[in-house]
């Protein structure tokens, strides 16, 4: 299977799952915006996405996407470190035009992953999971209140969003480069779109988290 056997194939898997996750975080940021406008509407969305079959199926696909992306990240990093050899350079200079994020994707991904676990504990474990087990669960408003009434949540979330910004700002254009949809013109265009997309997602999430903290904690 060329998707696992070849270097380009493995990168295609990273690209496709990565783009899928970018789409997911974009929808997530937009969905959160509903809560800023109306908590009632947000509760409706949470109810709609509760433990219905399509929501469970969606969750499984999403979890699969995350799992493949993370597993391949470790495989690729392991292979790349091996290819680099045992001797490291004594002097290393990062050339101009090389993004810092591009050389630290695994670390950034791990920060995002830690944030994701915290986020799942704070929301998913109190909402969809107990509902699936027929136990009492929180609605959207109650879960937001339980989380954002704690002041430490905001700075921790902002760190997670920042790592996500760096990760997407490289990952997004990199995916299109790997899929072969770039040339001299489009590399620059994808890089520009990448920065914009990452920034819009970051601003949406950050503004939403700040609003919830202001509303529930202050």
């Amino acid at each position: 299977m060329w998707l696992t056997n070849s270097s380009v194939g493995r990168k295609v898997v990273m690209s496709v799952t990565g783009l899928f996750l970018v789409l997911f975080v974009t929808f997530h940021a937009l969905m959160n915006a509903v809560a800023v406008i109306s908590f009632d509407a947000y509760d409706k969305i949470c109810e709609f996405l509760g433990a219905n079959w399509y929501a469970v199926l969606g969750t499984l696909i999403l979890a699969g996407g995350f799992a493949i992306h993370i597993i391949f990240a470790f495989i690729l990093t392991f292979q790349n470190r091996k290819a680099r050899g045992n001797n490291r350079y004594a002097v290393n200079a990062r050339p101009k035009n090389v993004e810092w994020a591009s050389q630290n994707m695994l670390v950034l991904g791990l920060i995002v992953c830690c944030f994701l676990i915290l986020h799942l504990v704070q929301f998913w474990a109190k909402m969809q999971l107990p509902e699936l087990m027929d136990r009492p669960h929180l609605g959207g408003y109650a879960a937001l209140q339980a989380t954002f009434s704690l002041v430490w949540v905001l700075p921790v979330y902002l760190i997670g969003f920042a790592a996500l910004w760096f990760h997407i700002s490289h990952g997004f254009w990199s995916a299109f480069q790997t899929l072969g949809t770039a040339n001299d013109k489009w590399i620059n265009r994808w890089q520009c779109i990448s920065k914009w997309w990452a920034s819009i997602v970051f601003i949406l999430f950050a503004v939403e988290a700040c609003y919830f903290t202001w509303f529930f904690a202050l």
């Binding site: 290819a83 290393n92 480069q177 790997t178 899929l179």
Partner: protein
């Protein structure tokens, strides 16, 4: 204007492929700034030979930037701090009096050190042998105007063909990936009608060989293109990916 500079040279010394390597520091005095980097290394070696020590082994051949043999990692850059130039095109005027200049070999698992600063880049030859050529389709000679080639494609193919296979891309890549080299070798044919006939077989065979030889996976950091002495562009890698994905999908 020519001046003389004195500096410290920190050079990687390694007796052979299996020996443990280490840095050795040499004091260089009154080197004219018009000296090329490799001439400076020659001066060092003459001094070492006069003292009865083993000279530093390093690769070099044409000394005019076209053969791809020179391969020093100088102060954190393959081929040194100059852009779009090989080590042999690097001059001591780039450095200052009192500097410490660190000289290392290419470091990559696929390019094992032979001795000191010389590495074995046979892996590139093997990748080329796997498909980096055009087989002759014998038959009646075509009319010169029968296969029109756009100026853009011709220029792009020519730019890709300027790759000298020095391995700076692998040396610069944190993943030890040879994708820039491979993409240049695939692109120079993929862009021309003469190369299209074997395009699918070529890209699959060359990529498989590259993976087999233990080069890393490309993560699009772009360090290769930034350090390439021939300014091979990153868009070649996108073309390689496109060629490979299309070839695999049509299997």
């Amino acid at each position: 204007m020519e001046t003389n500079i004195s500096f410290k040279l920190k050079v990687w010394r390694q007796a052979n492929a299996h020996a443990e390597g280490r840095f050795e520091t040499y004091e260089m005095h009154d080197i004219p700034t018009d000296t090329s980097f490799l001439e400076m290394m020659d001066i060092l070696n003459e001094q070492l030979i006069e003292k009865g020590e083993e000279p530093v082994t390093f690769d070099h051949d044409c000394r005019e930037g076209i053969c791809g043999m020179c391969s020093l990692y100088v102060n954190g850059h393959p081929h040194g701090p100059a852009t779009g130039a090989t080590t042999c095109q690097l001059y001591m005027r780039r450095f200052h009096d009192g500097d410490t200049i660190t000289v290392e070999p290419w470091r990559s698992a696929a390019f094992p050190v032979i001795k000191d600063l010389m590495v074995n880049r046979n892996a590139f030859d093997q990748i080329q042998q796997a498909g980096g050529y055009v087989s002759f389709q014998t038959g009646g000679a075509q009319d010169a105007n029968a296969i029109p080639i756009s100026k853009d494609a011709a220029d792009e193919a020519m730019d890709s063909a300027t790759c000298i296979g020095c391995g700076a891309c692998v040396a610069a890549c944190k993943n030890g990936s040879a994708m820039l080299f491979l993409s240049a070798k695939v692109s120079q044919f993929a862009l021309l009608p003469q190369g299209r006939a074997e395009a699918k077989r070529r890209v699959k065979a060359m990529l498989a060989k590259m993976d087999e030889l233990g080069f890393g996976n490309c993560t699009n950091t772009g360090a290769c293109a930034a350090e390439c002495p021939k300014n091979i562009k990153l868009s070649n890698i996108a073309r390689l990916n496109r060629e490979f994905i299309c070839a695999k999908c049509s299997d």
